[in-house]
């Protein structure tokens, strides 16, 4: 906790008190000043201006050239520091912990969301190699940035008692450098994600029904959906919009050479952390649903193919399209494709060995 009193102000206070006292003595015999006249205490007016008591910032000038060099007192900094320590850091970590617990609770109560009739073995192509590379690049960079970011946000209360200052400084320093380096890579992969998935993520007619039925989380049975259902589309737009917010605010923080003032960097920092906490919280849900939360979902991002029964259950409108266009392949065909891929991988490896 910061308390605003500091010893620096004691001489100032003494000065002001002395001056007020003398002021009254001198003016004792004088007629009362005309209404609207400002106090004639020379120091008081100056210090009121310097401390920006009237709410206006006092821009001075300085021979020293630097960011905000002309501003004598930065009145916002203390507010930002308090907000970070008292609000962002504790409530951010509580929010993440609550989301994690809710998901664990959901898993315990509801279990894995299965498919009626189980998996058929007949597959449909869902994601191309390029799309999966984009997804996993973004995912890995995101997880790295989330961990290094949380180290900076929560490391002092949580990790310094465990590691000690020296070891934690090493970790935080490496984390900060890594965070700064991978931040722009996150932006690039985010833009690739934006362009490669945007067409299928525009909201359409059936999406409102999905929302009204609670996405199948409430009640029994699966809810109608297209190639992406409403929940996936919303996750996509959360990633894109909050991702852009985090990227832009991150660039403001990482490159201080454009003369941005402290208040801009403070606001950027708050937006950066708030956005990151929201994105990490929702991403925990995404990771859960994409892995052991639902049956057959992970397959799509692993091999690029998904089971037709999974499609029928979660994306019935797309399933209809698959049947119409005859896109469903048999289990043997799927095995052949996977085998071919594995073979070509082995072939490449043997070729490389021979090359050596």
């Amino acid at each position: 906790m910061i308390h605003r009193e500091s010893d620096v102000r004691i001489p100032t206070l003494l000065l002001l008190m002395c001056m007020l006292f003398l002021q009254f003595q001198v003016h004792a015999a004088d007629p009362p000043p005309p209404p609207g006249m400002v106090s004639t205490v020379p120091g008081a007016e100056l210090w009121r201006k310097v401390r920006q008591r009237d709410g206006k910032s006092t821009d001075g000038i300085s021979q020293v050239k630097g960011v905000d060099a002309g501003i004598l007192i930065n009145t916002q900094g203390d507010r930002w520091a308090r907000f970070r320590i008292n609000k962002l850091s504790p409530y951010g970590s509580i929010a993440l912990a609550v989301v994690f617990l809710v998901i664990v609770l959901f898993f315990v109560l509801r279990g894995k969301i299965g498919i009626d009739g189980g998996l058929s073995g007949r597959m449909v192509h869902r994601f191309s190699d390029y799309e999966r590379i984009v997804h996993w690049t973004l995912a890995i960079v995101f997880i790295f940035l989330a961990i290094t970011g949380l180290i900076l946000l929560l490391g002092r209360p949580l990790l310094i008692p465990l590691l000690g200052k020296e070891a934690f400084s090493l970790l935080a320093s490496a984390g900060k450098e890594g965070h700064n380096l991978f931040g722009p890579i996150f932006l690039i992969s985010l833009l690739m994600m934006l362009f490669s998935f945007v067409r299928r993520n525009i909201y359409e007619k059936g999406d409102l029904t999905w929302l009204l039925k609670g996405g199948g989380f409430i009640g029994e049975g699966h809810v109608s959906g297209g190639f992406f259902n409403m929940g996936e589309k919303t996750w996509y737009w959360i990633v894109i919009l909050i991702g852009l917010l985090i990227s832009i605010s991150g660039l403001v923080l990482v490159m201080p050479n454009f003369g941005q003032s402290r208040i801009i960097m403070e606001i950027s920092h708050v937006l950066h952390v708030l956005g990151a906490v929201v994105l990490i919280a929702v991403s925990i849900g995404h990771m859960y649903l994409g892995s052991f939360g639902t049956e057959g979902t992970a397959e799509g991002m692993k091999t690029g193919y998904v089971d037709i029964n999974w499609v029928e259950a979660h994306h019935d409108r797309w399933a209809k399209e698959c049947h119409e266009k005859n896109l469903v392949i048999s289990a043997e065909e799927y095995a052949r494709i996977l085998g071919k891929k594995a073979e070509s991988g082995e072939l490449l490896a043997t070729e490389q060995e021979q090359g050596k």
């Binding site: 001489p11 002395c18 100056l46 002309g70 930002w80 520091a81 320590i85 990482v254």
Partner: protein, 197 residues
């Protein structure tokens, strides 16, 4: 135990910037970094005042509160110092500081921040006093030689005072009383002297 403080007398500072120069020279501070600066308010207008400002060595320093790696510490003299071996150059102390004291040398591409540098009250850092390591990282350690910060020691108008807070208060109180008793009432405030002189 003494509590070391700076105080700048706005009625005396003439914006000569000698404190800035002396500090830069004494500690061999690199380009782009200024531990001390003089700010002039209402420049060229009536009521113009200048103040020399650096780290004010707060009793409860916002920089120390906000630092994510906890690199700040307060000496027994009430001087706020930091450990450059711990500092990671995040810039948070610069956002939080009321006085704009923390400075960052450019370390690499895109002006990314190096380790923070600020006024040490000429008291060095956590290393052994007068070691070459200490001098390289934090500049000279005058306090351990029994000397006060150079900026205040060489101030030509004695506007900038540095030392034990009690002594500074006494000096300042005397000045204020003398100003109040002068024939021109408020000393250099010509606006009022015309009214009452």
């Amino acid at each position: 135990m003494a509590r070391m403080k700076f105080y700048c007398d706005a009625e005396r500072c003439v914006e000569c910037n000698a404190c800035v120069t002396a500090c830069k020279n004494e500690h061999e501070i690199p380009w782009g970094v200024n531990r001390r600066r003089v700010v002039t308010i209402k420049d060229g207008e009536q009521g113009e005042r200048s103040l020399s400002v650096a780290c004010m060595h707060c009793s409860d320093a916002p920089c120390a509160v906000v630092c994510p790696v906890d690199c700040f510490y307060t000496t027994s003299d009430g001087i706020v110092l930091h450990d450059k071996d711990i500092c990671i150059g995040c810039g948070y102390c610069f956002y939080a500081c009321p006085f704009g004291a923390p400075q960052f040398p450019e370390s690499s591409a895109f002006s990314s921040r190096g380790k923070m540098d600020k006024c040490t009250f000429c008291a060095g850092g956590p290393e052994q006093d007068h070691s070459s390591e200490e001098t390289r990282k934090y500049g000279r350690n005058r306090l351990s030689e029994g000397k006060l910060p150079l900026c205040a020691e060489m101030c030509s108008t004695k506007a900038l005072l540095a030392g034990d807070a009690d002594v500074l208060s006494d000096i300042y109180r005397k000045r204020v009383i003398n100003r109040g008793a002068s024939a021109f009432n408020w000393g250099v405030n010509f606006n009022n002297s015309k009214l009452q002189g």
